[in-house]
Structures are given as C-alpha cells and as structure tokens.
Symmetry: C2
Subunit: 300 residues, 2 copies
C-alpha cells in the first residue's frame, strides 16, 4: 500500500483504548475506516467491538493487518516495548510485524529522542513512523476536537491527515521525527506554568481571606485568563480532584521536558520548579488525581 | 453629600491621566459625570479638557471640589504622597482637603497595607476610602471593559458602583479595605506564571528548531491556552516589546505580592521565581518595555 489513508479503504490498528484512545478510535471508526484494536485489558475495548471494530489477539497480529497503526499508551517505556519488543525490533514487535509501507503513528506523549529512534528503525524496514501527540484532554478526545502535533516526513504527515482529522480539529506538522513531541513539550511547559499560577492565585486568595470564587470572577475574564483558570480552578474550589489528566502522567511529561531541554542546552527555570512540585505531589500519593491536585501543596 | 454617585449630579476628580487614567476619565465624562482633573504634566489632560473636563491647579483644590476622587498613579509612594502629603494628612493632602463624605477611590495597583492605612485615616475624618485596582490593560481602559476589584465598606462600594460601571464591565466587591488590592495580587500572580510559561514554551520551541508560530497554532487553542499566549506571544514573535504593561510597574506589583504573601505567611514559589526573573529584566534595562519582554532572558 502507499499514499493517502482513506475511509472505506484503509484499516487502522489502535493500541491503547484508555480514556483518550477509546473515543479516538471510535471517531476513526465512525469516519468509515476499518478499525482493529488490541488492548492489555480486553474489556476496555468492548464498546469499540460492539460499534464494529475487530479484535486482534496480539499487537503484532494487529500490525500485520493494518495500513496504519496508532499507539496511545502510558509511558515511553510502553512505547519502546511495543515498537522494539524484547528483541530490538524482531518478530514480536510492531517494527518487526508491520507490512512494508505501513504508517506507525505514536500519539502517546513520549520523548523526542525515542521518536527519532523509532523513525530511524522504521525507515530501515520500509515503514513510515510519525510522532503525533495530542492536546485537548479527554473532552477533546470525546468531541474529536484534539489539537494534534505531528513530527515525521512531510509526505507521510500529509498521507495520514485524513485519519488524524477524524480525531482532531487542529493538525499541524512541526518538522521531522520527534518534532511533534517537541511541540507537545511546549504545550506541557505552558500548562505547568498556568497551573502553578492558578494554584498560587487561589492559595493567596484564601490566605488573604477573600472569597475564591469571587476572585475567579474578577481575574478569569481579563489578562490573567486561561483555560486552566476557566476549567480547572472551579474544580479545585469544588474539592473535585478527579482526572482530567493524571498527575502521574504529567510528571512523566515534565521529566521528558526537562531531559529534552537539558539535551538542547535550554534553561527553563519555571518548568524546573513545576516539575519539582509535581514530583513532590506524586511522592505524596496524588499520582491518580488530576493535575489541578497541585493545589494540595498549597493547602498545608 | 451622601448616597449613590449619579451622572448629572456628582463631580468626580481624576488624579492620574496616563495610559489608563485618561481613557477611564473620558468614559466617566461620557457617562454624564462632571469631571475635574489634575495631572503632574498638564498636557496629558488636554484631550479631557477639550472633551469638557475642568482643570484643578492642585490635587487639594481638586479634592475640595469633588464628590469622589479617583487616583490612578504609578507607585504606592505616589499614592501615599497624595493621600497623606508631607504632613501626614494635613491641608496639603487629599485626606486633609476633601469635604466630609467624599469618596476617595484609589485605582492604582498598590499595597493592601497602604489601602488599610488610608481607609483608617479616612474614616477618622468622615471620608470614605475604597481601593479599586483594575485589570484589563490599556485596551480594557479604552473600551470601558475593565475588571474592577473593590475593597472597602460594602455600602461605599455600592454607592460608587455607577461610577465604576462607567469604566468597567466586571465590578466585584472583595471585602474590607485592602481586599481589592489582595484580589489584584491574585491577578498578577496568575499573569506572572502565564508569562513565564509562554516565554519558556516559545524558547523551547526555538531551541528545538520548531516554527514558533506553528507551535502557537497548536497549543494556543487547547488546555495550554491563555490570554497571554493569544495576545502577547504573537508580539514576542514579531519582536514588538512595546508596553502594554510596563515591566517597571509589574516589578512593583510583584514586590507588593511577595511582601503581602510574607505578611500572610504564604509560600508562593512560582511568584518568587517570576519576581526574581523580572528583577533581573529590570536591572538589565528593560523597565520601559512590556511585560512580555521577559522573553529577552530566554534569548541569551
């Protein structure tokens, strides 16, 4: 196969059907693509199978049946295990099992360095790897309104665009392999600072004896305004720390951001501070809460 | 005089006719209030005088003629000098010159402690002091769309609301004297973090070899989105560091925030970091640029 992916013609394999992957795969199915899924826990795929997706017994079986494989899993280590397997890209891995010409699209937020390694190995095997992490959260995934940041060969990015547009409204190609991950790091850097600002503003409000909800009314609409203040600050005030986006995953993202910044020789003191605070939060047992649980550190 | 301020009946004195005060006074005039102005440099008031405002030769003459005095000047020291004068509130000061019952409304971003001192001294003289700093920037001032954060007696806040509504769309009473300033500190805390995040995201994008404008396209609309990313990041990319809001004034605001947080026993590490960076920026000679000039620190 070659060329642009098309509904009705192309088969898309989905690995990872969690809070993000499941609705994303659902939109791809609804757009008319054939969809094959594999998930570590099969019950997570039940809804997709009922909607018409097929089941693959293993990731490699899935890869062998697909024109494009989408991976959206937890951590870079999971990505590495899928793509390279135990034997560095042999039969038990996506890289070993995919047919020549297959697109391998990692939508996990992962490291730019790993994305480059995958792209090199893929290219050597006649495969086409892209990194395409997303922003927009579970809600963006459910509403097919994700912003998708693509790294890889331009022709490949163009070819998979019909698939990506089934899941997102903003699809931007940022450059060669790893550049999608780099753009996602920019996103996480901005989010981390925003959350820090929201938590400190709310903590200050409480400390000064103000009504926090009235403070949000005053500051939310002006030049301090942000998605975080509008969407997460009210949850903080309601004591609702359910994810949203897991602290444990955000810690992973910030570790990737700091490692990559160091590799590039960049100083990002705000991100360093945020990473330190989120590591503290994780160590204190808040990994399963949403990122706005950062506020707990300011309650002590 | 007593009770609610009304267009056609009440005279409003304006001290400070800079980039914020001039359009604000213009809106008050347009709403039908009689307006008297004084400014250190008389030519700054020319437009207002042509529009029908009257001129006062001194702040005390202005205070003696007004039912409400609005001050919006640069620094807490300027506020203190106006309200207390050289003699601690004697004839040469607003507190000494205002007629009993006059509303004294400080819209400068100043310290909560100073606001409380003014309110105490005002109360002892039969005057009504309010702190009412604003957010929304020069554009909000021009468009009468400011968010105004009010501290002081509730009845007084209610009485001046018709005047404040001539300048802003969001008017919220946050509590007793100083609480408007406290709410404004929350605003500046959130803005500082937002700016830090925008600058680091853009710096990372450049360091990673990405097209910064494309990164903004990807991250601006999602959960990293903020007023800062939407409005100031594009100016950074255009190399346009004109204020907007002066670095020198923002440093003042952050100093007030840290002093007040310390007084309240609050830890605000993100704000501390931002304050450190802005002090560095000021020391490097960028005080007359806009707050987004923080990006200069990331260009080195």
């Amino acid at each position: 196969m070659s060329g642009t992916l098309s509904p009705g013609e192309s088969t898309v394999g989905f690995i990872g059907t969690g809070v993000m992957g499941a609705p994303m795969a659902g939109h791809v199915l609804a757009a008319g693509f054939d969809v094959v899924v594999w998930a570590r826990s099969a019950e997570k795929a039940t809804g997709l199978l009922e909607a018409g997706a097929q089941w693959a017994e293993t990731p490699t079986e899935l890869a062998a049946r697909a024109d494009a494989v989408v991976t959206i899993v937890g951590y870079p280590a999971d990505v590495e295990a899928l793509y390279f397997g135990d034997d560095g890209g042999g039969d038990g891995s996506l890289l070993g099992a995919a047919r020549p010409g297959t697109y391998l699209i990692d939508m996990t937020t992962s490291s730019p360095a790993l994305a480059r390694r995958i792209a090199e190995a893929a290219s050597a095997r006649g495969l086409r790897a892209l990194d395409a992490p997303v922003t927009g959260g579970d809600r963006g995934a459910r509403e097919a309104r994700l912003s998708i940041m693509v790294g890889g060969e331009e022709a490949d990015a163009h070819a998979v665009e019909p698939l990506l547009r089934a899941m997102g409204t903003t699809v931007v190609h940022h450059g060669g392999p790893g550049c999608g991950q780099h753009a996602k790091i920019c996103n996480q850097i901005a989010i981390a600072a925003s959350m820090l600002g929201a938590c400190e503003a709310l903590a200050y409000a409480r400390g000064a004896g103000l009504d926090q909800a009235r403070v949000l009314e005053s500051i939310g609409a002006g030049s301090a305004g942000s998605w975080t203040l509008a969407n997460l600050a009210p949850r903080i005030l309601a004591g609702d720390f359910a994810p949203g986006f897991f602290v444990k995953h955000f810690v992973k993202d910030l570790r990737i951001a700091l490692a990559s910044a160091e590799e590039l020789g960049l100083e990002v003191p705000g991100t360093q501070l945020a990473a330190r605070l989120y590591e503290t939060l994780l160590a204190a047992g808040h990994g399963e809460e949403g990122t706005h649980a950062l506020y707990h550190l300011y309650e002590r």
